[in-house]
């Protein structure tokens, strides 16, 4: 734990007689207590001697600190958090308030990685356990699970030491016929060197989902190796004589890129491709759209009109639909037509990650399990160089780089789970937990912008992986309606993407909803029923062991319910 930050806060380790209101949980009455600022958290301890309730807010979860005009009772601060919680703080002395504000602004926008919580956070685990935690998700096992490498797709060493593309992982799968020369040539013709590589292989049809960035074609540019690369992708699918190239951008945006020497594949130059635009808007549109839906979630007493118009005008659900549509297109091509798909957008790390991972969810039941979703995020997002630290503002940086790209992916999964309540092993809480950790910098998993950066930072030695932690708590994240066998027949999910089937994700954007006791939901009811069912079965077995009518021993109530496991507590010094 670094004390330097605390030291330069000198006089400001604590402020007394502060009032705090957790607006997002529906709290109405402010509680009075003491506010502490640590190197990592804002901590509020209630004065009430009976409860001494504590509220901890991680600095990296603070999105912005607003300072509304001073009122007679004191000066106010409003903390808007990245998980859409809102805390309102009232400090009696304006001077204290100013100091807290300055410190919070500074602490919530760290300049370097070393200031982040995950690099100081030190749970009670030894070195071996920490190293083991990083091996919890192994991507090579996943490729093996989907049958790769095989006689169509092979591992390539081209990118070892990140020589060809510094934002790609070092281990990649490419068509068997793609020689290193083709790979290198193709990568020179693609934005940031992100050449076509395998994302998902569908064993049932031998069709594949590949990903890359836009070609540097401009108006007339060509590249023989790139054309050969696409040809190789096609050849790696014996069942089809063409491939789809899905450009997930609106066509006009793609066309405009040609003026900058980029753009999209010319169907005349590439033999046997069919080009398809999807129309997912760019990160800037998404950023402002999300702000609008956050505002809808924060409305205090909206009318029906405020709510429905707000929701529609945010455009958010329309964007979610576009992403789901992209996934549906890819999944249908791969599963129904048996045609391989090459997906890209501009740089191939935002919209491409969304479209590919949604397609995987639709195509393969494995990704609808707890472990499977972890693997999927690790593969299509973490390893393929989604810029986590830029998009989720881990460090003080360019606000135009920030955008809720993975929020949208998680929401697509949520919308799907609403349409198919029995098809997912996990529940909403799991998705929200992932969302939180993408932003929290609590673990090293999502730090940095690509694999190389993480390696250079030696994150595996200095921080912990989030996945074993979530896995440990999986009982809390399990959807009892899920049954594994179901997935065999519900192999490919075929969702409905008409507007009737999209709704606001209240669990994320409307925290009041979160505080509704969850046992209202059928799923939680089912957990209870399942428990009961098991009890009865055990009881029955006991009876069957003795002749009917004889005295059987009852073992009712011997079973324990799902245990909540907690990690050993760790003190954070104030």
């Amino acid at each position: 734990m670094s004390w330097c930050v605390l030291n330069h806060l000198s006089s400001l380790t604590c402020v007394e007689n502060v009032r705090l209101l957790d607006r997002s949980s529906g709290q109405r009455k402010a509680s009075t207590g003491t506010l502490y600022l640590s190197a990592t958290h804002t901590i509020f301890v209630e004065n009430n001697p009976e409860t001494r309730k504590e509220t901890w807010v991680l600095h990296s979860m603070v999105n912005s600190v607003e300072r509304p005009p001073t009122i007679p009772a004191g000066s106010q601060l409003i903390l808007h958090c990245k998980d859409f919680r809102v805390y309102q703080i009232l400090i009696p002395q304006e001077r204290d308030c100013l100091d807290v504000h300055t410190s919070l602004v500074r602490l919530s926008r760290p300049g370097k990685y070393s200031e982040l919580y995950c690099l100081s956070f030190n749970p009670n685990v030894n070195k071996e356990d920490r190293e083991e935690s990083w091996n919890f998700i192994d991507l090579m096992t996943d490729y093996k699970r989907m049958g790769v490498p095989n006689n169509l797709w092979v591992a390539t060493a081209a990118n070892s030491e990140y020589r060809v593309c510094d934002t790609y992982p070092s281990e990649l799968f490419v068509p068997k016929s793609a020689t290193p020369a083709i790979i290198v040539g193709s990568s020179r013709f693609r934005s940031r060197g992100r050449f076509p590589a395998l994302s998902y292989f569908h064993q049932d049809t031998l069709a594949a989902v590949c990903r890359c960035s836009q070609p540097l074609s401009g108006f007339s540019g060509r590249c023989q190796e790139d054309e050969m690369m696409l040809q190789a992708v096609m050849k790696s699918n014996p069942g089809s004589d063409f491939i789809y190239v899905v450009d997930t951008r609106p066509k006009l945006n793609a066309m405009a890129n040609r003026a900058a020497g980029k753009g999209y594949e010319n169907e005349d130059h590439y033999t046997n491709i069919k080009l398809q635009f999807i129309g997912i808007e760019n990160i800037h549109v998404m950023r402002s759209s999300q702000q609008k839906i956050i505002d809808v979630g924060e409305m205090r007493s909206p009318s029906m009109t405020d709510f429905l118009w707000g929701l529609e005008n945010s455009g958010w659900l329309k964007h979610i639909k576009a992403i789901l549509d992209a996934g549906v297109f890819i999944a249908r091509a791969v599963a129904d037509e048996g045609v391989s798909v090459l997906v890209h957008c501009s740089d191939g790390w935002d919209r491409t990650a969304q479209a590919c991972s949604v397609a995987s969810i639709l195509l393969n039941p494995f990704y609808r399990t707890i472990k499977g979703l972890m693997v999927l995020i690790e593969r299509d997002w973490v390893s393929f160089g989604h810029k986590f630290s830029h998009r989720y503002a881990h460090l003080d940086g360019d606000p135009k780089e920030v955008s809720p790209v993975i929020d949208q992916f998680l929401e697509c999964v949520w919308q799907l789970s609403e349409q198919f309540p029995c098809a997912f092993e996990f529940n909403e809480r799991f998705l929200v937990a992932i969302h939180t950790h993408v932003y929290s910098c609590h673990f090293g998993t999502f730090l940095g912008n690509c694999q190389k950066e993480r390696r250079d930072m030696r994150l595996r030695e200095r921080s912990h992986s989030v996945w074993p932690q979530l896995w440990k708590d999986r009982a809390e994240y399990t959807n009892p309606l899920y049954k594994a066998e179901l997935s065999q027949t519900q192999g490919v999910l075929r969702p409905n993407t008409t507007p009737y089937c999209f709704k606001m994700w209240k669990g994320l954007y409307n925290h009041m909803e979160k505080s509704t006791p969850p046992r209202q939901s059928p799923a939680d009811f089912l957990s209870a029923v399942r428990e009961e069912s098991q009890q009865l079965e055990e009881e029955l077995t006991n009876h069957q062991e003795v002749p009917p009518g004889g005295t059987a021993h009852h073992h009712l109530g011997s079973r324990q319910g799902i245990q909540h496991t907690k990690t050993p507590p760790v003190m954070t010094p104030l």
């Binding site: 209101l21 607006r23 529906g26 109405r28 409860t51 504590e54 901890w56 009772a73 106010q76 609106p250 066509k251 006009l252 945006n253 405009a256 890129n257 003026a259 900058a260 398809q276 808007e281 760019n282 800037h284 007493s301 909206p302 009318s303 009109t305 429905l308 529609e312 455009g315 329309k318 549509d325 549906v328 297109f329 091509a333 309540p421 929200v432 939180t436 932690q469 066998e485 179901l486 519900q490 075929r494 409905n496 008409t498 507007p499 709704k503 909803e513 969850p518 029923v529 399942r530 009961e532 009865l536 029955l540 009876h543 009917p548 009518g549 907690k566 990690t567 507590p569 760790v570 003190m571």
Partner: protein, 767 residues
Amino acid sequence: MFSVKPLKPTFKCYLPPVQTDVKRSIEPPIKKLEPKLLQGEIVVNEVNFVRKCISAESSQDDLWGKLICTNFKVSFIPQDAPPKQKSRLSHLLLGEHDVPLTCLEQVVTVNDTKGKKKVLGSNQKLKFNPTELILYCKDLRIIRFCFDEAGPESAKKVCLAIAHYSHPADLQLLFGFEYQGRRYHESKGERINGSTPRGGLQTPIFDRPSDWDREIKRTGASEWRVCSINEGYAISQSLPEYIVVPVSLADQDLKQHSLSFTDQRIPLWCWNHQNGSALVRMANLSDPLQQRKTDQRFLAAITKSHPQRSEVFRSDLDKCLPNIQDIQNAFVKVRQSCVIDPFEESEERWLSSIENSRWLEYVRAFLKHSAEIVYHLDGKNSSVVLQEEEDRDLSCVVSSLVQLMLDPHYRSLIGFQSLVQKEWVMAGHRFLDRCNHLKKNDKEESPLFMLFLDCVWQIMNQYPAAFEFTEAYLTLLSDSMWIPLFSTFLFNSPKQRAQHLMDFAKNKAIPQGEDQVVYFPPVWNWSQQFSTKDQTLFNNPMYVGKGAACVQNGEVKTFRRTKQKTYSSTLRGTSASVRNGMRGGEETLPRRGSLVSELRPDFSPVKDESPSERFFRDWFSRPADQQGLLIPLLMPSHMALWKLYFLRWVPEACIPRGGPITAYHKLSQLVDEIEILQSQLRQYKGPSPGSTPLPSPSGPPSDQRRMYFKAGSPNDPPTPPDFLTSSFPFTPVGNLCRRGIHGTPISKFLNEARIWLSTETLANDTV
């Protein structure tokens, strides 16, 4: 919304729906197509070689057959009946392609070649030969028939007959009066053998003092009595014969004061809280001279019937709720957006079109007002009088919602039916006029009962374990309004019912003294419409009624809902667990309803909080008892469109193998499994007193099982059946053929324009 569409070519171009090679050729009918007729039903007109449209997209699945108009229904008999779809309930009185005449909202004839269209009424002429007939139904179906191969004259005749017979001149001409007479005489034999009171109907009808007495006892309303001054409808035309009044008012007083009320409707007791507060409904006072005196007399009596003599709270519903015309307009609009407008149009602005209808706003207003009445009865311990001009419309909605929130009895199936019987049928809701069965006065039409069912659904949606019945039940109940065979929805008042049924009995030679319920049954006798097996779709597997979940012969065993887990919100989930377990107060996470959130949370002192706000806040901060008071959350985000009702016919809204029904399927199987295990347990334990052990080791025989979906044997795959869609137990197939806007120049233009507009942020994309 959703204005951004992919540029052409769209998904459809690349990935067309799976083509079936079978091209149906038009074959002349060889076999004779006979309609299935009920007792007393006769064929009025028919036409052959009719094509029924199945999907709006293409005509390849269309069915050929005969279109028939009877005195009860429009029937279509397909020539080659496709294998019966399992996804449909088999209705015992109506076939898959039948529509009762009472269910027709509008009969529209079209001549494509001449570009003509006419909405047909009764006794009208048609100057063109129709090429198409479109039936807009009150249950929101839109059914289309094409006459391209049919005889033009016969087609025209059938259309005119359908229009004519769907506008009956008189109530007695509704088919129920013919059918029930025949049915009564033909099924006499069976009845005598197994005669049970009221034909075995368990739902109280409230047409005799004993039903009211029981209700008084059940609610502990000791200061109220059954009064029979309206016997023979001597006082009021719209009140039931027996009503409940304060004990302190003598019959003489009541008679005298009745003259001051609209239609002599003296205030009517509805329900008593266990704290002694009563819910009363009353009409406006019509006599201005007597007004004050009468009013005070009644208020005093109601106060006197309260154990604490606390002040009576009066709520004037006409002043604070939308009127029946508003409600009708909202319904027309929401229906327009859901089923009538072309999908391409409604898709674009789906949420705002729902908003524009104001339907959800009204649903919310009624729930909210009812919750406020609940506060007065429960939180303030005072009696409440609901006042409305005639006390026959808005009062019905509010009083039943209040009771549904306060009294778990009404959340059971029988309880719910008795509530409808008491607060709607007996209280004199004008079902005949509001449903507009005779299509005589459109101004009187208003879907109040539908609004009530939607409100019930909203509560059910929030508390899925609190009701014994399902949304399928509510939907089928709403559909039953349009089948004119049950006494429940045919009349404007108990008096009208009594008169018509008396005449009916005389005309049909039904012996005097025979019970109405037997010779003209209400809808509550569900075996008229559905088999016992299909009725199990009414059962909610999650219901945690008084031991209801697992009661079967003899032994009662309630679910032990052992752990009421408190799940922490996720920020506090894992991150809290490494924070020294010092969580941010998950144990005190309050629930929040809009009733509370109306107040701006800020640092102002708490004293601004009104008592009612505090009441709601307290209630929401406690875990809800499914068998106690239930208050719905009322933020706009908690209001949802009732998809099963409004969108069940819409193909674009249908999710194959998805939707809430898949969860229902899984839960039903589990509960069924539990019940089998329990039954097996009972056998091992030996017979318990008063019950005989079942001989089979496989649990109760399948016709006694409560769940629609049975637990399979271990060998069965636990997959949801293929016929399960989000529309189950209904199907969009052939039930919604609406006008499309494909290919109209204006729509094309608009689509392209939208694409251009949506790229305003283009510049940002090119880095």
